[in-house]
């Protein structure tokens, strides 16, 4: 499988972003909570915060960009347990690809998109991959 990477749709707009917010209105309560926690925790991560200088704010009307997250391909994928030979029936997990999309406030333009590696739908930090991609892509773009 080729390495996953983010895609920049509007580099100029991305460069202007200093503060962003999360719109989780389309997610379920538990999904929204997971995404919010992921953003908050990983935003506090020194490794990531050194690279992603955007400030996460609550009020989207004050933000330069709006982040949305959704889960692509919510298909059931079969995941065989480690040492699966011990089990005759494979463990079935619901895996999804977390997708981070960044827009202007009114969603007239898509700025950025990153699709992470498959995760369990209830993963605690669903945005680990997409946020790392975003930070890396911003750094590359600004070099």
């Amino acid at each position: 499988m080729p390495p996953r990477k983010g895609e920049i749709f509007d580099g100029e707009a991305l460069r202007r972003v200093t503060a962003f917010c999360l719109d989780s209105s389309h997610l379920s309560h538990s999904e929204a909570a997971g995404v919010q926690e992921s953003l908050t925790r990983q935003g506090q991560s020194r490794k990531l915060s050194e690279r992603l200088s955007w400030k996460l704010i609550d009020n989207c009307s004050q933000a330069d960009a709006v982040a949305r997250v959704y889960y692509l391909g919510a298909a059931i994928r079969q995941v065989v347990e480690a040492g699966g030979l011990r089990s005759s029936s494979p463990k079935v997990q619901q895996e999804v690809d977390p997708v981070l999309v960044i827009y202007d406030k009114a969603a007239l333009r898509l700025y950025y998109r990153a699709e992470g590696s498959p995760i369990h739908r209830d993963a605690r930090y669903p945005l680990a991959d997409p946020l790392a991609m975003l930070a890396k892509d911003l750094r590359t773009m600004n070099q």
Partner: protein, 334 residues
């Protein structure tokens, strides 16, 4: 008697534009025989399931709310806009644009045209991966039965028989119903949409009023529907209309989703429609129809751009339809 008037396309067709239009529920409730997208010109109620689906958009922050500098930054086509200083002109512009829409609707006749679609698929970092071209016929029919008016748009084969066109194997489905998007400005539909006067702009020698709009979740009856990945999603729109300062006809429209429809991985859907006057010798009045439509889609990270160009407009009569149908059934010549 209240006249039932609507716009739509035929059952089973993929809706143009950014959409496969919805309205099936609304129309069924009203006894109007439309399936996918229809664009009601009369104030249809939003009911049942569709109303629930509109709640997806209830948090949308739209172009109507956005500060003007941010709108201009997001939409490069507004370069040269002379910003309006207030909204005092808006009611008058909407009234006159509404009258122009009513007139355009009354003038409309059954029309056939040629449609050429150029489909482009882009890869990572905007690299063009593939281009394909497709030719179709294009048909607008207006049913003006007593008490009911319905406008249908079809994509057809060379014999003007409706077809359900397939896009390229990896492409985004073709859309339709561009002719009728101006019904958003119909006087009886206006309550479904928030409008904002942005200012004036001179484009190719024409002085135009620029109006931003955003459909109101819970009220919108001019909606789209798209079926992707085995799921169906309702589409509501926001956008900009450029209105001629003298004729008050809508010269150009840009439509975007009111909010990305992430239930079906529809990350962006932008439709730009260029309208123009079409003179057909047999028609008593000039018709106001789409000349070119560009649909830009980002679906699951894949960017597609479909350009639709229309030409060779002519009146379409029942006689020609019968003839076309007959010739299609005729055995092939040896």
């Amino acid at each position: 008697m209240t006249k039932n008037c609507a716009l739509g396309n035929s059952e089973g067709f993929y809706n143009a534009m950014p959409r496969k239009f919805s309205g099936a529920i609304v129309r069924a409730a009203l006894g109007v025989a439309l399936a996918y997208g229809a664009l009601p010109t009369c104030p249809f109620a939003v009911i049942g399931q569709e109303e629930d689906e509109q709640s997806y958009y209830k948090h949308a922050y739209s172009i109507v709310d956005l500060p003007l500098p941010e709108i201009m930054s997001a939409l490069p086509e507004l370069q040269g806009l002379q910003p309006g200083t207030n909204q005092q002109q808006l009611p008058d512009i909407l009234t006159k644009a509404g009258e122009a829409v009513v007139q355009a609707y009354e003038d409309l006749r059954n029309v056939a045209a040629d449609e050429e679609i150029t489909e482009q698929q882009y890869g990572y970092n905007g690299r063009l991966l593939d281009t394909s071209r497709h030719h179709f016929g294009y048909l607008i029919t207006v049913d003006k039965a007593p008490g009911e008016e319905v406008l249908h748009e079809y994509r057809t084969n060379a014999r003007l028989k409706p077809v359900e066109p397939e896009s390229a194997p990896q492409g985004f489905p073709f859309t339709t119903n561009s002719a009728s998007m101006w019904v958003l400005f119909h006087p009886q539909n206006r309550y479904q949409t928030n409008f904002r006067y942005l200012g004036k702009q001179s484009v190719e020698g024409q002085d135009l009023y620029v109006i931003a709009f955003a459909e109101v979740p819970g009220k919108a009856a001019v909606t789209g529907r798209i079926n992707l990945q085995g799921r169906s999603a309702l589409l509501l729109y926001q956008g900009v209309a450029w209105i001629h300062s003298k004729s008050f006809r809508i010269v150009k429209m840009r439509l975007d989703l009111l909010e990305p429809q992430l239930d079906v991985a529809l990350e962006q859907l932008t439709t730009e429609i260029q309208f123009g006057e079409v003179r057909i010798p047999q028609a008593t009045a000039a018709l106001w129809l789409p000349q070119a439509v560009t649909v830009t889609t980002v679906n699951g990270g894949q960017l597609f751009r479909n350009r639709h160009a229309y030409s060779n407009f002519r009146l379409f009569t029942v006689k020609s339809e019968t003839k076309a149908a007959a010739s299609e059934q005729a055995p092939p010549r040896r």
